[in-house]
Symmetry: C2
Subunit: 426 residues, 2 copies
Amino acid sequence: MERVIWQQLDEAGQRRALARSELVADPALEGAVAAILAQVAQQGDAGLKALTEKFDGALPERWQLGPDAMAEAGARLAPELKAAIDQAIVHIGRFHQAQQPQALSMDVAEGIRCELRTEAIERVGLYVPGGSAPLISTVLMLALPARIAGCALKVMVTPPPINDAILYAAQQCGVDALYLIGGAQAVAALAYGTETVPRVDKIFGPGNRFVTEAKRQVSQQGTAIDMPAGPSEVLVLADDQADAAFVAADLLSQAEHGEDSQVILVTDSGCLADRVVAELEQQLAALPRAEIARAALAQSRVILAQDLDEACAISNAYAPEHLIVQTRTPRDLLPKLRAAGSVFLGPWTPESVGDYASGTNHVLPTYGAARTVSSLSLADFQRRFTVQELSRDGLAALNKTVVTLAQAEGLDAHANAVTLRMEKPA
Amino acid sequence: MERVIWQQLDEAGQRRALARSELVADPALEGAVAAILAQVAQQGDAGLKALTEKFDGALPERWQLGPDAMAEAGARLAPELKAAIDQAIVHIGRFHQAQQPQALSMDVAEGIRCELRTEAIERVGLYVPGGSAPLISTVLMLALPARIAGCALKVMVTPPPINDAILYAAQQCGVDALYLIGGAQAVAALAYGTETVPRVDKIFGPGNRFVTEAKRQVSQQGTAIDMPAGPSEVLVLADDQADAAFVAADLLSQAEHGEDSQVILVTDSGCLADRVVAELEQQLAALPRAEIARAALAQSRVILAQDLDEACAISNAYAPEHLIVQTRTPRDLLPKLRAAGSVFLGPWTPESVGDYASGTNHVLPTYGAARTVSSLSLADFQRRFTVQELSRDGLAALNKTVVTLAQAEGLDAHANAVTLRMEKPA
């Protein structure tokens, strides 16, 4: 890990110290994905099957699984894994249930009632990546909020092979139908619909660069997506009291995600920085995914801050996806921490608890998007809309204001819609 | 207005009856906007000045206005207009203030605390279109929620000439700085920053197709935007009790916005439909913007439904930006109306009250986006993020679950971050 002292850097140096790997536009990828989307849009199931054969091997004969197939899996699952999924569901469920918005209804003045109402998004598509290991936690983080929000149709897609843990999790979270498809073609099926796969209003979930690009493209065509995706990242903010072994373990649990993961340690203690670097080497030796973690660490940094105030400012400038605070009194820093996807306070709160089971959602804004984008929550599966209802007197009280403003904007029919009503005998 | 009977249409006919004007990709526009963005990114103020000269005439010498200049305008403004702005501010302020989220903090289990916190987005850019008439209401709808949310920097851009009403509104709503620039180059200045214009995190506001395309492009580069923009639209849902003159006035107040505006009347009463069409002709005769309204009406439709249940289903399928309900008991239909930007209930609630002064926001999802996108609200100027804090016992209670799930996903460092802590003596 490269080591820099914040105060010794000029502005460009500070920018470099917090730089993420550049996102280079890839026209070949964009073109390939556009072609895949077009094929599914035009050919439906036939296109989906042909593309699956081309990229993933043959489509399984039973590629659509309903609640029955999911329920069977539960009976076969190891009790330990079942219990783990069950506990995670309880915590994630409680925290997301508590996010149900209160309906707002108020009279802003006599006879002028304004309301903010919430409805669930009707049809949602949940993408769960396949690959080397099944992402059970992704099922929980997407399907549970969808169920709690009240989404009428929850469709999940995931490339084969499917395993029992994923099926059990999907069933417990109320997934209505599961399709064994993946890649850009699965995103296309959700966005456009096919004879078999229903079209959805919004698509959630992580994926490889084909999936990410497909989500980006369909989002430009009218299907909503959860948030822009980028490489995963963590910033650990620590003082000299932090346990170096804990800090190193947290940095590594992020670094093992992928070679493009970024981990940053910001500390006001050079001594802690030394101890963390030594710990990293020791822990790496025992790690199966050490090679991936080493590659990620090679792009990562230790930043020495003057004090914790400066450390908070550095964290805000970076706006990390995950922010771990291991200082004497971590909660005291919270009001100063303005931009992060999810914050982990204190020595007993490793990032991995948020990844799986503390109750918070692990779908978080990356690549600095935490400045404007919220961590995934119940609200992302819902939409807010306003309602207003005026009495005749309420409208009379607004008459002059609306007519004056409408005329100032040159919109006479707007004014007329009010004056015409006022001319009507009460 | 074309008139169709819903039950007599086949599926394709029903789709056509609710079709919006096709959005055709315009590569020439995309290229022109990309060039403008690049010029501002590279040349800063110089590029901004050159582009403004090219498209809008010379940049005014005083193109940056602070609170002092805004305050001066208030002293000059006609009292009637000032009073109208003031009343609108009171109502919009009250309704948006009431949207402040409650912080959520809960123990999902003993020793496992989860929180949902809200922070204002730090720097916001507000685009207010110029053109034939100054859009005072746009200033209110963007700047007031930004101030109430607590955004630290609120930058407004609008092409010259500026008028006193806009300046007064900006000052009353707490705009920090105002720049007399417009078009794609103004969006670029906000997205990238120049020597004079500060870079912002998120850009709000309507504009012409250059502005809309510029917002789309910068949103792909990491600057957030409020929502995708499309032509304005209204759907009026009425029964035989509705006042035909009111309905016609509401249809026209939408139609006068632009030739691409879409207005739809859905009713279970053929008799009302006849009366509305007759009223339209009569009211059009007196309207300054009749030509625009006529063009919009030419693309619009009267849809005859079997009953009000079917009328609600039609409205949901269309997902209108504005939905006006003029029936015997409009509130009874509310639970059935699942997708709209803003709903106007009853005879005394014309759309124009929401455009100006009822208190709701007039920035609303168009083009069917109401299925997934919320009407603009305080939440759009804020971001939510999660916090978790575990005690040692809380982590111990999660230990087995996190380790089991992490191992099932093949992420050993994730498991290690927990087990290593648990090995530490308490």
